[in-house]
Amino acid sequence: MCENCGAEPQATDLDLKELDPILEKYGKIKGSLISILQQTQDIHGYLSKEAIDYISKKTGITPAKIYGVATFYAQFRLEPIGEYLIMLCQGTACHVNGAALIEEAITEYLGIQDNETTPDNKFTLNNVACLGCCSLAPVMMIKSKDGDETFGNLTKTKVVEAIKQIQSR
């Protein structure tokens, strides 16, 4: 129970012990906060309040500072994401070649907006800065535990087909 407000801690299935090897490795090297957060996110999929408190306790860095860093960089998420993360490129070449239409198609098909997750926790949509595959614009990268897959020269039809194909796996 929280000493200040009396709230019960939220049940979580996150295993904080999994973070120990990372904290062991980086905890003593100064300036490693970003690396710690990146690897924590790799394990849990996001940065939970519990994980941030745990990192703070183990490293002595205040939670305020950790939040400061975590909210500054685009890579970090404070909310869990779906099994598949759709990273839709918003680079200049993609913008010029119709990334907005692709976003519309995804939104229409999955019923989610940028930074939202489908109710079945399968897909999360993220508009991201340039992925660097500009000659294949418009482009998206789908990240999952199986690795990263990049899809190029997207059209409204192609993007929906790609998502359908993942759904059928």
């Binding site: 970003i34 918003q90 200049t92 070449a93 991201v128 992925l131 595959c133 000659s135 990049t150």
Partner: protein, 583 residues
């Protein structure tokens, strides 16, 4: 026989891994005498996946393009088994010109060698530069050679490289850092990714030579987390370089010790600014600070630090082995050597293009890129990303070098070149870039934090048809104040996309504001769809319309109800008779 499949990120996205797997499978099941290797991206991105066959292991016999797994059996049957080049999939002469019209120094090895095998880099003369430096040159000799070459930073600002190295060398202390900015944040630029993925050893060698020149004890590569393949290949390359003694204690038996490590960035455009990058390396929020002190005096952990871009370092081994004078012989009076451009947008042949500085824009866009997609009218080219600007068609003869591009109001920047055609709305482009800088502003300076937000609001209202008299002047006023009132490059250059589009495309702004009309027929709030007499009454559009705004008899001309129309454009897509007109 050696078969090489280009596998940069864009190649893989086009299916290169599948093609490579198909080749390997077929060759092993048929027991043929050939091996399949990988390489980085050669730069003809529009032709991926690309398969190169070297009959005698050394000379390229045939380059096959757009090879999908289904094409593999035919190529293996004809070329691998019977030694006959398969013409159907062979690169065309015109496409070959895409490469032969270039002058490749930075990209000299990309797409040719296996980036995951150090021996291939060594076999074509790699690490000769560092050998020469450590055995025959003093620190000052190296700096002098770079000075002779005239190499300027390729990350955007174009600052002379030798000057920075010299300043870091002259700073007192033994603990010094050589950093590489591989946080390629400009949307629309991907040359650094190509070097990292295709030729990581040239970066490592360049950084080691630079490290020796300034007396660095350690090198750090700050690379974007969005480039997982680049990080993987860099790690492999660093491991191999250590094994061969090009990194570590007493490199190649000399008394110089130096190693390089990777630090993955976490996604912040402002970290391209060197003091912000240093803050990020130290695990902090990547916020810039005032200069001086310059990083050369007080940088990473308050020690003398030098930061260069990937492309800058990739030039260094070449300069050392071929001589600074050879590099200086290329380019213009003040902009020496070559520059890599990432040609993308509405271009027929997009990809990486490396040309001597000073080549006219036209030669790059039409000579190499083959002009605008679908033969539409060329409107402008955007250079320098969010810090740059749009150069209009009238200035297409501008030579591409630092000085001449600056005169147009754009900048060379890291080398992104996004081609725009008649369908691109210039007000929307300005809005797009301001949306980007507004999100990426670190928030330290008022003018940048609040000013970009206000400019974005004005641009948004113009594109939504709510522009007011005086908006253009207000934008101009804000632009100058943000430029003058911001501490770092991000804020100082953020108004450039707006200033250049107002300068060259003021009529488009006026069209939006006064006529409530989008010149390029792009801005949704300002377009209308009508159906003309080409309509044969097939009803395809009416069936697609999600709001029932289209009515009409079968075989009769249909009509759009503008009050109901939500401008989704589905009717335009559905019509096979070009009867739906967007205005």
């Amino acid at each position: 026989m050696k078969i090489v499949v280009g596998q940069g990120s864009c190649g893989v996205a086009s299916g290169a891994k599948k093609t490579s797997d198909a080749l390997e499978n077929l060759i092993s099941t048929e027991g043929l005498d050939a091996r399949v290797e990988l390489a980085g991206c050669v730069g003809n991105c529009y032709l991926e996946p690309i398969v190169d066959i070297y009959d005698n292991d050394k000379e390229l016999t045939a380059r096959y393009v757009q090879v999908q797994p289904a094409d593999v059996p035919a190529i293996v049957e004809s070329h691998v088994k019977n030694g006959k080049v398969l013409n159907e999939k062979l690169i065309s002469e015109k496409d070959e010109a895409f490469l032969s019209n270039q002058k490749r120094i930075v990209l000299r090895n990309a797409g040719i060698i296996d980036p995951e095998d150090i021996n291939e880099y060594i076999a074509i003369g790699g690490y000769e530069g560092i050998k020469k430096v450590l055995t025959t040159m003093s620190q000052d000799d190296v700096i002098e050679e770079i000075k002779v070459s005239g190499l300027r930073g390729r990350g955007g600002a174009g600052f002379p490289t030798w000057f920075k190295w010299n300043a870091a060398k002259q700073s007192p202390g033994t603990e010094k850092y050589m950093c590489c900015n591989a946080d390629e944040g400009d949307p629309g630029a991907f040359m650094d990714r190509s070097v990292l993925e295709g030729d990581p050893h040239s970066l490592i060698e360049g950084m080691t030579i630079g490290g020796y020149a300034m007396g660095a004890s350690e090198g750090v590569i700050y690379v974007r987390a969005e480039y997982p393949l680049a990080i993987k290949r860099l790690n492999i390359a660093l491991g191999q370089a250590r094994e061969k003694g090009f990194l570590g204690e007493n490199i190649l038996g000399s008394n110089y010790s130096y190693d390089i490590r990777i630090k993955a960035g976490a996604g912040a455009f402002v970290c391209g600014e060197e003091t912000a990058l240093i803050a990020s390396l130290e695990g902090e929020r990547g916020m810039p600070r005032l200069k001086p002190p310059f990083p050369a005096q007080k940088g990473f952990w308050q020690k003398p630090t030098n930061i260069n871009n990937v492309e800058t370092f990739a030039n260094v081994p070449w300069i050392i082995t071929e001589g600074g004078a050879a590099f200086g012989a290329m380019g213009t009076d003040k902009s020496k050597g070559t520059k890599v451009f990432a040609l993308a947008g509405k271009i027929k042949k997009g990809g990486l293009v490396e040309v001597p500085m000073g080549l006219p824009l036209k030669d790059v866009i039409y000579g190499i890129g083959d002009g605008v997609k679908n033969d539409k009218a060329f409107k402008a080219v955007q250079m320098g990303g969010p810090s740059g600007g749009c150069i209009p068609a009238a200035l297409i003869d501008t030579p591409v070098d630092y000085e001449n591009i600056n005169k147009t109001g754009a900048i060379v920047g890291s080398g992104g070149m996004i081609v725009m055609d008649e369908d691109t709305c210039m007000v929307d482009m300005a809005r797009y870039f301001l949306d980007f800088t507004r999100k990426e502003s670190c928030g330290k300076c008022n003018y940048c934090r609040v000013g970009t937000k206000r400019m974005l609001e004005i641009l948004e209202r113009i594109t939504q048809g709510k522009g007011k008299d005086g908006d253009i002047e207000l934008l101009e006023e804000l632009a100058l104040k943000i430029r003058d009132g911001s501490m770092c490059g991000l804020g100082q250059t953020a108004p450039n996309p707006v200033l250049t589009t107002i300068k060259y495309f003021r009529h488009e702004y006026e069209d939006h504001i006064y006529n409530k009309h989008c010149t390029a027929h792009y801005c949704k709030a300002l377009i209308t769809f009508t159906i003309n007499d080409k309509c044969i009454g097939c009803t395809a559009c009416a069936r697609q319309c999600p709001v029932g705004a289209i009515t009409g008899e079968v075989k009769g001309q249909h009509v759009v109800d503008h009050d109901k129309c939500i401008k989704c454009g589905k009717c335009e897509e559905a019509c096979k008779f070009s009867a739906v007109i967007r205005d």
